[in-house]
């Protein structure tokens, strides 16, 4: 009967061992992300940061004795695999989820609300999920794409002393994500009296010469690039080849050290939005270096520590752990409702200076939407503005309008 035992073992492995109900001293977090398809440019570093931060908290004794366990699975950006991974992690007792994928998140939003599980969608995902009255368990918790666009525009305005009569070109990938900032630009163009034009390029963006030839003739004062992955480096290169100065280029959050290495020395002066600081010079990152990386407990290559996406991952987990701490104040064990309440109690938390201070309320799950602009100085991303939220009323109104439409079923 040896084959029977082998089969049983294989089956047990394949189905995974399901342990129901989280124990009081172990908080499970589902990091069910896309490691193999569209989001690979960031998932590795981002997830590594998340895991390392959780290891750090556990090394430091957890939160009142509660430790954190990350359930890490690849979904390949496929919704059916995401749904399976979500349901399984739910059975295993996970209370918090991060999918880092638009189609997977879209397929799970309603389910998570019904199950009362918290889903975080930091700096990506639907902007209108920031409306806590419509999406009670979804927490964007950092600047949404709308807030990012507004922040970049305000930065241009401050530096230029008014945008009246200026021309802005937005060069974006032709996908729902690429078109996301356009409504905000419409509103701001009317308010600040600038002119803008959108130039789409085909996904995934490995060739954009036609779009940029047109941009050059538009003679913009500023250029915004809105893409992700390898396409971003192509955008910057093609822009520079078309005589656009690096200083004129302003990017969405997805521009990082790897892109700078790809573009080379010409990258100097390019600006991007950032929701968290990069580099090693922060108390939390220092502690991770000391207590996680040096003893060899890191989740990946030590070289990645301190990169933009790594620090972003650290910050997402820092906020989540803070929410868990606040949620546990009334006693454990932690469940979705307590965690949600914990998130909504976060006030002025800045992860020891790694990110802008955020305050999440029952209405505002974005946490204010603050961020800043940083510039590539040839070595690293150096901040060129202070943490602040741009046009908060406009962003809030856009969020509420869109959330209201969603509520109606659109």
């Amino acid at each position: 009967m040896k084959w029977l035992r082998t089969t049983a073992l294989t089956a047990a492995l394949a189905f995974g061992s399901v342990t129901t109900a989280a124990t009081a001293d172990e908080i499970k977090i589902g990091l069910l992300q896309d490691f193999t398809a569209v989001y690979t440019f960031l998932t590795g570093e981002y997830n590594q940061g998340q895991q390392d931060y959780l290891t750090l908290i556990n090394e430091e004794g957890g939160i009142d004795g509660n430790t954190f366990t990350a359930i890490v699975r690849d979904t390949g950006n496929q919704p059916q695999r995401g749904i399976e991974a979500y349901n399984r992690a739910k059975e295993e007792g996970a209370v918090l989820f991060d999918f880092l994928s638009t189609p997977v998140s879209a397929a799970i939003l309603d389910q998570a609300d019904a199950d009362k599980r918290v889903v975080i969608t930091p700096v990506h995902g639907r902007g209108d999920a920031s409306d806590g009255t419509v999406f009670p368990y979804i927490f964007p918790m950092m600047a949404t794409y709308w807030a990012q666009a507004a922040n970049l525009i305000e930065f241009m305005k401050t530096n230029e002393g008014g945008l009246e009569g200026k021309k802005i070109a937005i060069v974006h990938i032709d996908s729902p994500f690429g078109k996301e900032p356009l409504p905000i630009l419409d509103a701001l163009a009317a308010q600040e009296k600038f002119e803008y034009k959108a130039f789409p390029y085909a996904s995934p963006g490995n060739e954009q010469s036609a779009a940029w030839s047109e941009v050059r003739r538009y003679q913009p004062d500023f250029v915004m690039i809105w893409g992700a992955g390898g396409g971003q480096a192509v955008s910057v290169k093609t822009a520079i080849q078309n005589g656009i100065k690096p200083e004129q280029i302003h990017s969405v959050i997805w521009l990082a050290e790897t892109d700078a290495a790809n573009v080379g020395p010409m990258m100097k002066g390019v600006k991007r939005f950032e929701a968290t600081a990069s580099g090693l010079d922060h108390p939390i990152i220092q502690r991770i270096q000391e207590k996680v990386i040096t003893p060899g407990k890191g989740a990946g290559d030590a070289k990645n520590v301190g990169t933009s996406y790594y620090n972003l991952g650290v910050a997402t987990m820092a906020v989540s752990v803070e929410a868990a701490r606040l949620g546990l104040e009334g006693g454990g064990p932690l469940d979705g409702d307590k965690l949600k309440a914990g998130f909504e109690k976060i006030a002025g938390y800045d992860a020891e200076g790694l990110m802008p201070a955020i305050t999440i309320t029952a209405e505002d799950h974005q946490g204010g939407g603050a961020g800043r602009v940083s510039e590539w100085d040839g070595e690293k991303w150096a901040p060129v503005s202070d943490w602040h939220a741009a046009y908060p009323e406009l962003i809030r109104k856009t969020i509420e309008d869109s959330a209201a439409k969603y509520k109606e079923g659109h």
Binding site: K197, P200, S203, G229, G230, K237, Q241, G243, T258
Partner: protein
């Protein structure tokens, strides 16, 4: 008018860069009759190989030949282990096998070597070549010239003794056997040559956009190129590349900002569809006559 010429020239050069990807596809199809839908992933693998050798400290002029050797052997191995066993199977089985290979490579290569984008610095200057008000992308210019040279070299190669054998094999497997040509070896060599062509494509595209799995998406424009030029024609790769590149640049250049979306993939799709409906074997392809 300068705008039109700029779109035209950059489009043509981009099209020639697509032709580099398409060349490998045609080399294999011509001799083996296998449509290698994994050619995009092979280009990605080649890009990773070039990056690997450069990150080991080799200069460009050594890294590329080294990658060529590796990819030639890789082509031989793939043919020997996988495709040779598929001889005589229906086309759909062969297509699916190459798609399985595509999945395998897209897991294996980024899995081992890392999935974040890698950069290849070929030392090509960034500044555009400026003629009047026309800005020409230098990487594409160099890539285009290399594509023409490589296609020319392939044409010359087919006039050598080995090349003549390959042509014989592409004409008729059974007759080639009858006159003592090793069909297996010829097909193996054409896979190896496709690997070499992939190195050139992978290095140039990798330097333009960085090396990661998205290199394998170059397959789609490359398919348009081979369908238009003729699936078994080497000069067809050049002509098809030029047309796909030019149309894919000029049409979006005038339409995109009105449509609000990039029309390049639409143009590519329409080229494939129109070619298939009007002249399925392409401009230079050989028309197969089917007998009952």
């Amino acid at each position: 008018m300068a705008y039109f010429f700029e779109l035209l020239i950059n489009g043509a050069l981009t099209g020639l860069m697509y032709a580099l990807v398409a060349l490998g596809f045609v080399l294999i199809y011509k001799s083996a009759g296998v449509p290698n839908l994994a050619q995009g992933a092979v280009v990605m693998t080649a890009g990773y190989a070039v990056w690997l050798f450069m990150s080991m400290g080799l200069p460009v002029w050594l890294a590329i030949p080294a990658a060529m050797v590796v990819m030639f052997l890789f082509g031989l191995v793939v043919e020997r282990l996988l495709l040779r066993r598929m001889v005589g199977q229906p086309i759909i089985m062969v297509v699916m096998l190459t798609l399985g290979l595509d999945i395998l490579l897209r897991g294996l290569v980024p899995g081992i070597l890392g999935s974040a984008p890698k950069s290849i610095d070929l030392g090509i200057n960034f500044a555009p070549v400026i003629i009047g008000d026309v800005f020409i992308n230098r990487t594409s210019l160099i890539g285009g010239v290399i594509a023409i040279l490589l296609v020319g070299a392939s044409l010359l190669f087919f006039r050598t003794r080995l090349g003549t054998k390959l042509r014989a094999v592409s004409d008729d497997h059974i007759s080639s056997w009858a006159v003592g040509i090793s069909v297996e070896r010829a097909i193996g060599i054409s896979w190896g040559l496709a690997g070499i062509a992939a190195v050139v494509a992978g290095a140039l595209w990798g330097s333009a956009q960085g090396v990661d799995w998205t290199l394998s998406t170059l397959l789609f424009p490359a398919i348009a190129v081979v369908i238009l030029g003729g699936i078994d024609s080497i000069p067809g790769v050049l002509v098809g590349g030029l047309l796909v590149g030019i149309l894919g640049s000029v049409v979006p250049g005038y339409l995109d900002s009105y449509v609000g979306g990039s029309t390049r993939d639409v143009v590519t799709s329409v080229i494939i569809l129109l070619t298939i409906m009007v002249r399925p074997f392409g401009i230079f392809g050989r028309e197969d006559i089917e007998r009952i």
